[in-house]
């Protein structure tokens, strides 16, 4: 069976949605200097989900916060759809974060005083969309996550899995092109975690670029590529292969 994201590999690659060039981040200085990242190069193309793995302290989360413009590198560049966000004005950066980048964190970060639909609509409203239009889009995003029944519930009236799916709806609303997920399956049971990964995968198959930071091999396996970090450097990565190379027979014929 043809899988939607397989096409990506063999077509000439489209321009990357995210490009990290020689990215470095040093905390402190002198004797207390800590090199969180040391010259990372990474490109993520439309349709591609890249998992980042590595021991704690290897720089995984730093990479994600820099890629999302939530922190500033001490060296190198971060290009989001061709714009260097390390030299962008605050205003440009804020607009990019509202429109192009979706974030999913382990602790959901939903606003407790807002309903699910209001949480999802928030980034659109902040970006100047009318409340009515924002609600329509928010309801569509919840529908996509199979959660329309939660629209008017508050976060404390939902399970962890539901909260995380609402957080993903918020991260994806308004057709963001870059999705950054930091241990999005953290506190979830394995079935719910898998459904969260399925949503990220589906959005990338539909054309978004995604980075998934995780320490769970089973969830990293949903990615097209897995990048291994150690001590702030990329030490290895997997490349995509065709399933037929592993299991003969049935896989190819379906």
């Amino acid at each position: 069976m043809h899988h939607p994201h397989q096409a990506q590999v063999f077509d000439p690659p489209a321009a990357p949605v995210l490009e990290l060039q020689q990215l470095s981040r040093v905390h402190g200085s002198g004797a207390t200097e800590v090199h969180a990242l040391r010259g990372i190069d990474l490109a993520v193309h439309p349709g591609e989900l890249v998992a980042v793995m590595g021991p704690s302290g290897s720089g995984k989360s730093t990479l994600l916060t820099l890629a999302g413009g939530l922190d500033t590198p001490t060296g190198g560049r971060v290009l989001v759809e061709g714009t260097d966000i390390t030299t962008a004005s605050r205003k440009q950066l804020a607009a990019l974060r509202r429109r192009s980048i979706g974030y999913v964190f382990q602790d959901y970060n939903l606003i407790p005083a807002l309903t699910a639909a209001e949480n999802v609509a928030l980034p659109l409203e902040l970006d100047g969309t009318s409340a009515r239009k924002a609600r329509v889009q928010a309801l569509a995003a919840l529908e996509e996550m199979n959660l329309p029944q939660l629209a008017d519930r508050f976060p404390d009236e939902m399970s962890g899995g539901q909260q995380q799916r609402v957080a993903i709806a918020r991260a994806l609303v308004g057709n963001r092109r870059l999705v950054l997920a930091d241990e999005p399956t953290g506190a979830l049971d394995s079935e719910t975690g898998e459904s969260v990964l399925g949503l990220l995968r589906a959005r990338c198959d539909a054309g978004a670029a995604g980075i998934l930071v995780t320490h769970e091999p089973r969830f990293a396996a949903w990615a097209d590529r897995v990048v291994f970090l150690r001590d702030g450097r990329v030490v290895d990565e997997t490349l995509r292969t065709e399933p037929d190379s592993l299991l003969s027979g049935r896989a190819g014929g379906r």
Partner: protein
Amino acid sequence: MSIRHGLLALLERGPRYGSQLRTEFESRTGSTWPLNVGQVYTTLARLERDGLVSPDGTDEAGHTLYAITEDGRTELRAWYERPVERTNPPRDELAIKLAMAIGAPGVDIRAVIQAQRAATIRAMQDYTRLKAQALTAIESGQARERDDVAWLLVLEQLIFQTEAEARWLDHSESRLVRLSVLAERGAPTAPPQAAPTAAPTTAPARPAAAPRAARSRRG
């Protein structure tokens, strides 16, 4: 023995001939454990010898059919009820390799671990992609649903196995890092020449070796 019982399980659904059994075994398990027709006939001959199957005429095309006997059904029932035996852990090349790599001259065990980790995760990526296909096939509700569910379970078993391997590799690496940190802290008085790379003929190497041996006896 899995092929034996696998064939009995298929024959419980009705008489079948050899290559038919092979096809059905493989579609259940997604060709994960390919069978050749020779193996199927050898196994059928043994099952017949043990009175668990018997020849059951031929079909229109002249294939010899086999049917499960009453003893065969009893054996099959007992197989389902009895947990798989674990008296001898299967030989694991990776475990043997890491065991040999500890202290092997010129071997960077972290590099060995990383090369394996990348290969293991890549296998998981492949299995996961196949699993997504199996799920799609099941959701689309096509005729072969029962085979697809069987295939899904086999794939998920492969995923869990590779996951266990990846976790063990992570654990081994951090275990080794921690132990090497301890070893360095434990020998603060050792002169720099006592490092393992020092020439073996230098005298200072010997006093450093003694406390190391003592520590390992205590541990």
